[in-house]
């Protein structure tokens, strides 16, 4: 804290609306070239592309397996059904450091899966996959953004992967509306009073 106290900040721009204090309020995707489309008119953006832009087919197999392990299909859709792997591809493709992190992170995962013995992560049985993932996610969860230490490559990768999976899933129609049950963005004549019993 003490070094922060002495920091003089030079700020380029203050947001034009209210400032939210948490980085997680800003999705990774917002830093992606916001508009490679000609306009910001709501697009049929949900339409999934045929192929990933950045990931190779082999990498994409792993991305899909990982995404569905983090958010699996249950009584509501899972990450793959929600198009999360393509969202991750879109975001990672926009940033050189993410490209590097994801390429190396996915390679690390294949090593852990035993690629030298011809095994690939997405082909492992679920129990083995979960066994690899559990300590990784634990370390990633413990690592808070902004903390001074830089953890190992695979932990940084998992932190980014889980965050992007959460972002992509919970902003998709399947995640936000079907799974979470979002009910807003409607026209009401009166603001509804509370239905809960307190």
């Amino acid at each position: 804290m003490s070094d922060r106290r002495d920091t003089l900040k030079i700020i380029g721009a203050i947001g034009t609306t209210c400032a939210f204090p948490f980085s997680a309020d800003e999705l990774y995707g917002q830093q992606a070239p916001a508009h490679d489309h000609a306009s910001e008119t709501p697009a049929q953006a949900a339409a999934m592309p045929a192929k990933p832009v950045f990931f190779t087919d082999k990498e994409f197999d792993t991305v899909k397996a990982l995404a569905d392990l983090i958010i699996p299909p249950t009584d509501t859709p899972g990450a793959v059904q929600a198009g999360v792997p393509f969202y991750i591809d879109y975001v990672v493709n926009s940033n050189e450091s993410w490209k590097k992190l994801f390429r190396e992170g996915l390679a690390w995962l294949e090593e852990a899966a035993g690629i030298s013995n011809g095994k690939r992560f997405h082909m492992l049985d679920e129990e083995t996959q979960i066994g690899i993932l559990t300590p990784l996610v634990k370390s990633a969860d413990r690592w808070k953004t902004g903390s001074k230490s830089t953890p190992a490559l695979e932990v940084r990768f998992m932190k980014a992967f889980k965050s992007m999976t959460a972002d992509g899933y919970f902003t998709s129609k399947a995640g936000l509306v079907d799974a979470l049950g979002y009910k807003g963005n409607t026209v009401l004549s009166e603001f509804p009073t509370c239905i809960h019993e307190h």
């Binding site: 721009a13 947001g15 204090p21 997680a24 958010i71 965050s163 992509g168 026209v187 509804p192």
Partner: protein, 520 residues
């Protein structure tokens, strides 16, 4: 553009410039409003009812790119930031105007609450402000439309806060809770800051500027990016030079008086750019105080889940974002700092679920943990008053130019000891109130963030330590005015726009009189 000399040219069409232009035009003054951005049709140009999955990057944009004025640095377009504000509208209190007198901290305003109170009323009666009359010393009541009911989560926080002797009140907003002024009531879609498409929320373009144009006294020139306020050898300003945003052609307008209302930092930047033989360090800067005393609000934040709502059915509680508020309560409590803070809360939108990243684990249990917490998520954003200090100022970076060749403004911010004390105390109080409300705390912000740009061109009685007098009129150049957040000598902890609008209404009366007398 030769020919006509206007009574007044106003640079900037946001809440301040918009209010001022309408008030002057109604009093028969000939006004030209220069706006750096394009026309905006608030009924069709916003992505008001969008969902994140309609965009490849999942971000709901505030404006279409056809409206290129709307970037992160500046909000150019008729209506300015009033198009995308959250419409929170407080009156500043007697104490807010007299920090130095009460506590020896910061700077006094050159007038008192009673001098501006009638203009708060004027604004409330013409734009519509909803709220409850709470009878609080530090948050004066106004002439309100009925308040909007609190959210379920607000009621839970209110119960928790009450245990600690802290009040929670209805928010006050320049958004219509009932149809009025030929505008419909709010329909609670939760998209206020993406731009309201029915003008239930105040914006200066639809509420002030368009109706004032019907008087025939107000002209608007779009896409005119001001680059210099011109001063002659008789120490009078004579007009404004501008660059066409699209063609980059140079233009010029003549006027008997000039008002700069470009949203705080940009107003200061325009005056600093306007160098002349008389004012080599920026126009109206004989005091050397132009750019100094930059005092934006600082915010903290706590994210949490209300225990009572975890696992409860999801309801439609987007509303008009925040419905409740914790008004300043520290002035009458013992503390080791000057000034105070207030807490805005629950202004998140349920379409943003960024917090899901920070829920532990993966797999079905992770998915369920997020779903259970979804209806219970809540944010607290306390706002503190920053005191002026020599290391916080606005200047120009002559090395870095924008697309029109104008130097970029630089905001230098340094938080002093008093600011840090408020920051820590408002963070502690936020946590205590939430814990008393049965909340599971997810994250606590440990560093202030700036919001609501204020100061840099302050008003005051002493021409040696201030740039403007109490009428927002330059001490140096009698026919130059500045009306926006830059003129605030002290920031209060309260959202500032209502006070800017009241100042604009007050300044309009003075300017019209002075013009009539031929004194400008």
């Amino acid at each position: 553009m030769p020919g006509k000399t206007y009574d007044v040219v106003i640079v900037g069409s946001g809440a301040s410039g918009g209010t001022l232009s309408a008030h002057l035009a109604r009093q028969g003054v000939d006004v030209l409003l220069l706006e750096g951005g394009p026309k905006v049709n608030t009924r069709t140009d916003f992505n008001t009812h969008a969902m994140p999955f309609q965009f490849p990057n999942r971000h709901i944009p505030t404006m279409k790119p056809g409206k290129a004025g709307f970037d992160s640095e500046r909000t150019r377009g008729i209506g300015g930031k009033s198009l995308t504000w959250n419409a929170v509208a407080w009156r500043y209190s007697a104490r807010d105007f007299k920090g130095k007198t009460y506590e020896g901290a910061g700077e006094d305003w050159p007038f008192e609450y009673k001098d501006i109170a009638p203009y708060y009323s004027t604004v409330e009666k013409e734009v519509g402000v909803c709220g409850n009359r709470d009878g609080l010393e530090d948050l004066p009541d106004g002439e309100f439309l009925p308040p909007v009911p609190m959210k379920c989560s607000d009621e839970i926080v209110k119960k928790g806060a009450t245990k600690l002797g802290v009040k929670v009140i209805h928010v006050r907003k320049a958004t219509l809770s009932r149809a009025a002024f030929n505008r419909p009531a709010c329909h609670f879609c939760g998209n206020c800051m993406a731009g309201c498409d029915v003008v239930a929320k105040y914006n200066s373009a639809d509420v002030h500027i368009v109706p004032a144009q019907r008087t025939g006294k107000l002209e608007v020139r779009h896409n005119a990016i001001a680059r210099e306020v011109i001063v002659n050898n008789e120490n009078k300003v004579t007009g404004v030079r501008y660059i066409d945003r699209e063609t980059k052609a140079e233009g010029e307008v003549s006027a008997r008086s000039v008002v700069v209302s470009c949203a705080c930092v940009q107003s200061v930047a325009l005056l600093l750019m306007s160098k002349s033989r008389l004012y080599p360090n920026g126009l109206a800067n004989s005091s050397g105080h132009l750019g100094k005393n930059f005092i934006p609000h600082f915010t903290g934040g706590v994210q949490c889940f209300l225990g009572e709502l975890i696992g409860k059915p999801v309801t439609n509680d987007e509303g008009f974002l925040d419905h409740a508020y914790v008004p300043s309560f520290m002035h009458n409590r013992k503390r080791d700092y000057a000034r105070s803070f207030g807490i805005q809360f629950n202004y998140q939108n349920r379409r943003a679920v960024g917090w899901a990243r920070d829920i532990a684990g993966f797999g079905p249990s992770y998915k369920k943990a997020v779903k259970d917490r979804y209806p219970a998520f809540l944010t607290f954003s306390p706002y503190g008053e920053m005191l002026p200090n020599p290391k916080s100022f606005i200047d120009l970076d002559w090395e870095k130019k924008d697309a029109w060749g104008l130097p970029l403004a630089r905001r230098n911010v340094f938080w002093g000891d008093n600011d840090w004390k408020i920051f820590h105390d408002m963070t502690d109080w936020s946590r205590r109130i939430l814990e008393a409300s049965g909340a599971e705390i997810l994250a606590v912000s440990d560093e202030p963030r700036t919001n609501h740009e204020l100061g840099g061109c302050r008003m005051g009685k002493d021409p040696k330590t201030s740039v403007l007098n109490e009428w927002c009129q330059s001490h140096d150049v009698k026919n130059l005015f500045v009306v926006d957040g830059s003129v605030f000598p002290s920031a209060s902890e309260k959202n500032p726009t209502h006070t800017m609008m009241a100042l604009a209404a007050r300044t309009a009366v003075y300017m019209a009189e002075q013009l009539k007398k031929g004194a400008l």
